[in-house]
């Protein structure tokens, strides 16, 4: 199945799945001595996989730029992480290590699954309520065997936020992986460690391979899909990061922050700005129906979201209205012909490419993005606006 990590022993014995490899390479002490202790070790290994890794990935990966940021998911993950930390902290209240009185596979697996949290986001104030967990974690990462693999681990000073720039950089090319090295090296797979310890079992795989792969999976999933049929693939890379602008537009003041940001970062080679007007205003009746017309078009253009932004406005009142908007597309041509899915609505509109330097363009961007102004060319009052983002 092409699974990574994979292990091959001297005798030809093969294994996949990191936990199985780690278990095989462990000695009895690490596995937990006795039926109870080894079951407890297994319990913690499962706990790491099922309860720590998912929320940790959701929270940390965007800060490393290897996954798109989703505020709701991140907040949810944060709460989840808090619960996990509190639980571990409670357990370690009376204990030095997770199972028994010495380091076991449980400590290795759980510490490694917490590693990126501690490195990226658990700033001092955030981790302060968990003194027992901190004590245990610091002790673990400072054991010589851990250090041999992880090196000096620097705990987070300040909570990392979503790195849109890095994310954008990493998205388009899959063939240049320099960004991953950093993450890859200490990606925290316990089996590497075991290998060092158990020199009698010869290591077959390259040191950094398993961890790099962990990053890859997620990235591959994200990168593969849009790339397979990305209609904009032929365009050179642009410096204008659409997502960043959209975030500014959504979260901050339009006139004071978003629009200045737009003009500061806009890439006139990679993007173009268009004015569109609905061709059949006389057919527009009730305002809510006209709005549905706009939002319906947005929905059908869903796949274009990544590469476009638009603010479309309904002017006037029932039975006396017009629709017009400002669109920003990737590339210099109208984007719609690039995909069949996108061609349903656009012919109902007239399209005019704006000269980026013109006063007209500046005014229109300002008025349409902010939903306020004179809208001199329209001649009807603002009714409501819809944003495609």
């Amino acid at each position: 199945m092409g699974k990574v990590p994979a292990y091959q022993g001297d005798d030809g014995f093969c294994l996949t799945e990191s936990n199985a490899i780690a278990y095989y390479l462990s000695n009895d002490a690490l596995r937990g001595s006795g039926a109870q202790a080894s079951a407890e070790v297994l319990q913690w290994v499962s706990f790491a996989d099922s309860d720590i890794v998912p929320p940790s990935s959701t929270w940390v990966f965007p800060t490393l730029g290897i996954m798109q940021f989703n505020k709701q998911a991140a907040e949810q993950a944060k709460e989840e992480v808090k619960r996990v930390l509190a639980y571990l902290n409670q357990h370690l209240n009376t204990r030095t290590f997770l199972v028994g009185e010495r380091v076991s596979l449980a400590d290795i697996t759980v510490a490694c699954s917490l590693l990126w949290l501690y490195k990226q986001v658990l700033e001092p104030a955030f981790r302060q309520p968990y003194p027992n967990l901190n004590r245990w974690f610091t002790t673990c990462i400072n054991q010589p065997q851990f250090k041999a693999i992880l090196g000096e681990v620097k705990l987070c000073d300040k909570m990392a936020q979503f790195d849109a720039k890095k994310f954008a950089e990493m998205q388009p090319k899959k063939d240049t992986p320099p960004k991953k090295e950093k993450g890859g090296k200490e990606g925290g797979k316990p089996q590497e460690k075991k290998e060092k310890k158990e020199d009698k079992k010869k290591e077959e795989k390259k040191p950094a391979a398993p961890a790099v792969e962990e990053m890859d999976e997620c990235e591959a999933a994200l990168a593969a899909e849009p790339k397979a049929k990305d209609p904009f693939a032929h365009l050179p890379k642009s410096t204008f990061v659409m997502d960043e602008f959209k975030r500014k537009y959504s979260n901050e003041d339009t006139l004071a922050v978003a629009i200045p940001h737009f003009w500061e970062h806009f890439d006139r080679e990679g993007y173009s700005i268009w004015y569109s007007e609905y061709r059949f205003p006389e057919e527009l009746t009730m305002a809510f129906m006209s709005c549905n017309l706009i939002t319906g078009m947005f929905q059908r253009l869903d796949k274009l979201r990544k590469n476009a932004f638009a603010s479309v406005i309904l002017f006037g009142t029932n039975n006396d209205s017009t629709i017009s908007g400002i669109w920003v597309f990737r590339g210099q041509e109208l984007a719609f012909p690039l995909s069949e899915d996108w061609q349903i609505d656009y012919e109902s509109y007239t399209w005019r490419k704006l000269d980026v330097d013109s006063e007209e363009c500046k005014t229109m961007v300002k008025e349409y993005f902010a939903w306020e102004g004179d809208f001199k060319h329209v001649g009807k009052p603002f009714n409501q606006g819809k944003v495609f983002k």
Partner: protein, 173 residues
């Protein structure tokens, strides 16, 4: 008492041939007798010497700072802990409990000479603690339990029962 402790320490350090000890004065300060060199006086001095003899520099600290902290605890053991008055015990436990909140070992991230020596010195105190008190000094108890389970440390001393699940949850924390 100090002599049995030194013989346990020798075993912990893996020293094969036992040394000869005697005591000095009212406080029964241990003395290490040697035929070839001047005798060594005092628990801390002897323990440090034994660790060196056993070629266990890791127990004496990896950095200058760690070495100083270890010596500080050896001194604390002799000066504050040994023969302390009954009313001082509470203060000692309270201080130690606070100190150990964010530490697994007394110095650095590994066991050092300070840990077994403090363990030996505290043993009779911890043995006398009631369950509630053990819970009150939770960090001390946890460290103590770790020490008595640490391979080769306990030897001559009886194990002290430590509950993992707290009985009296209304205490501090």
């Amino acid at each position: 008492m100090a002599l049995r402790e030194l013989s346990s320490l020798e075993k912990f350090l893996g020293l094969k041939k036992p040394n000869k000890y005697s005591t000095q004065g009212d406080r029964k300060v241990p003395v290490l007798q040697s035929n070839s060199a001047p005798s060594l006086v005092g628990l801390g001095t002897i323990a440090t010497h034994l660790a060196q003899e056993a070629k266990r520099p890791d127990l004496l600290g990896a950095s200058a700072e760690e070495r100083a902290v270890i010596q500080q605890w050896l001194e604390y053991r002799v000066a504050r802990l040994d023969g302390c008055a009954k009313e001082d015990i509470k203060t000692i436990l309270k201080d130690l409990n606070a100190y150990l909140e964010d530490k697994v070992y007394l110095a650095g991230n590994h066991i050092s000479l300070a840990d077994p020596l403090m363990y030996y010195g505290l043993h009779h105190i911890i043995t006398d603690l009631a369950v509630q008190e053990k819970e009150k000094y939770l960090n001390v108890t946890r460290w103590f339990d770790h020490m008595q389970h640490y391979p080769g440390v306990r030897h001559h001393l009886p194990p002290v029962v430590v509950l993992r699940n707290r009985v009296y949850t209304s205490g501090h924390h």
